[in-house]
């Protein structure tokens, strides 16, 4: 058994590059999904019927389809329209688009329970535009949505593992190739499990510390 872990250790370069790929992929798509979600959330609440219906259709559609199926549609389907993407771009695009729908729903949920008074007070004090958004709207919104966004980021990390099926060299894929090369399944996959756990613990700690900082400054 110890010997098996020794083999995994000797292949640490592969495993670490897989971990790095998972982390980079998740980080980029988390940021992308958050930005896209922030653009979609107002669209969900738009007065314009066509806009809000289109946004609602996209969000509900994504929430009904399994991520892997969506990734396949992007991977196999886009080339039919003449758009040819490599595994990396496909994975990143699928992960970002899919999670943008969830982020939009999270942000909308946090927005509708926000009290209106601070906003009106902010306007009365002469805040407007970006200043109003940055100083008055954003801090309580992030505080309310923070933990849920953190959960979604953990979901993104876990979804990124699905992309092993389209041969994207992320952490699970690295563990898989170590296992097939040396036949050390337990050591290879349990190491991957603990690396995922570590990533998620880091995110949880990050969310908690942001919450604490925000609480202290209130």
């Amino acid at each position: 058994m110890i010997h098996d872990f020794g083999i995994v250790w000797s292949e640490r370069g592969l495993l670490l590059s897989g971990l790095a790929n998972t982390a980079i992929l998740s980080a980029f798509s988390a940021i992308g999904a958050l930005l896209l979600g922030a653009a979609l959330a107002p669209a969900l609440m738009a007065r314009h019927r066509a806009v809000s219906w289109a946004a609602r259709g996209f969000v509900d559609g994504m929430r009904c389809v399994p991520f892997l199926l969506f990734a396949y549609i992007v991977y196999y389907g886009f080339p039919s329209f003449g758009v040819r993407l490599d595994n990396w771009t496909t994975g990143l695009a699928a992960l970002t688009l899919y999670n943008a729908a969830y982020m939009a729903e999270i942000l909308r949920g946090a927005w509708i329970v926000q009290p209106r008074e601070p906003l009106e007070a902010g306007v009365a004090f002469g805040f407007s535009g970006i200043g109003l958004f940055r100083r008055i709207i954003l801090p309580p919104l992030l505080l309310a949505a923070g933990p849920v966004i953190g959960n979604q980021m953990i979901q993104i990390i876990k979804d990124s593992a699905f992309l092993t099926i389209i041969a994207l060299p992320e952490l699970t894929h690295a563990a898989s190739s170590i296992q097939s090369r040396h036949y050390v399944p337990f050591a290879a996959f349990i190491t991957a499990v603990f690396l995922y756990w570590g990533l998620c613990l880091i995110i949880e700690a990050g969310v908690n510390s942001i919450g604490r900082v925000a609480e202290a400054r209130r």
Binding site: G61, R63, C64, V65, P66, F67, L68, L69, Y72, I73, Y76, G77, S80, I154, I157, K158, D159, S160, A161, F162, T164, I165, L171, T172, A175, S176, Q179, P185, F186, F189, I190, A192, V193, F194, Y196, W197, L199, C200, L201
Partner: protein, 215 residues
């Protein structure tokens, strides 16, 4: 897509639904058991469950499945794809269910528990008559939400060779060189299943809100 292809996809739908149901039905009571162990704070076991839940919630189902499917035979436990799939789904969903049950248990009013004690109910009866009916009601939306999440991770079962809706669609796509029709058909199969669960969740939440408003 030929009629044969459609039959293959419907067969995939049967696999998806029955494996999900197996995962849900076995995962629900196990999740409750895990939550009770943490709630009762049984020494050693409670700590073990805490770590188990934390690790399982962070582990992607693909990784878990590969671990079960390749590592169990390695230590002398033979496992076929279907049992690996069910075991993986149960381990995954029970960890999430545990958290839903546990938050319901944490919010359970202590005075009711003490009232039940004071009229002389035994622990088993107390749990069955007083605690369980109420925590079921509180946890139901969360549990139904978890069920729709479970269905959405089932395509991953393809890594151990289970042919579900998604796998069937991909196969047909690579046979016919036209991947889009079977995949859109797959979407059309998933949407009603997940949508039914989401509507059920909304219905339960609305009825509970109405009941609370009436009370």
């Amino acid at each position: 897509m030929s009629g044969e292809d459609i039959a293959a996809m419907l067969q995939g739908a049967v696999v998806t639904v029955s494996l999900s149901l197996a995962g849900i039905l076995i995962g629900l009571p196990i999740g409750l058991g895990l939550a009770l162990i943490r709630w009762a704070n049984i020494p050693v076991l409670a700590q073990f469950v805490t770590v188990y839940v934390s690790v399982l919630r962070a582990t992607p189902l693909v990784t878990l499945l590969l671990l079960l499917f390749f590592a169990l035979p390695n230590v002398g436990v033979p496992i076929n794809p279907i049992s690996a799939a069910i075991l993986g789904l149960v381990m995954n969903t029970s960890a999430f269910n545990c958290e839903v049950w546990r938050s319901a248990l944490m919010g359970f009013p202590k005075d009711q528990y003490e009232a039940a004690q004071s009229v002389g109910m035994r622990a088993g009866l107390r749990f069955r008559r007083i605690v369980l009916p109420q925590i079921i009601r509180v946890s139901l939306p969360g549990l139904v939400n978890e069920m729709s999440l479970l269905i959405k991770v089932t395509p991953v079962l393809a890594v151990v060779g289970v042919v579900d809706i998604t796998r069937a669609a991909v196969r047909i796509g690579s046979d016919t060189y036209e991947p889009l029709p079977p995949m859109l058909f797959a979407v059309a199969l998933y949407v009603p299943i997940v949508f039914a669960l989401v509507s059920l969740q909304r219905l339960i939440e609305r009825r509970q809100m109405a009941a609370e408003a009436a009370a």
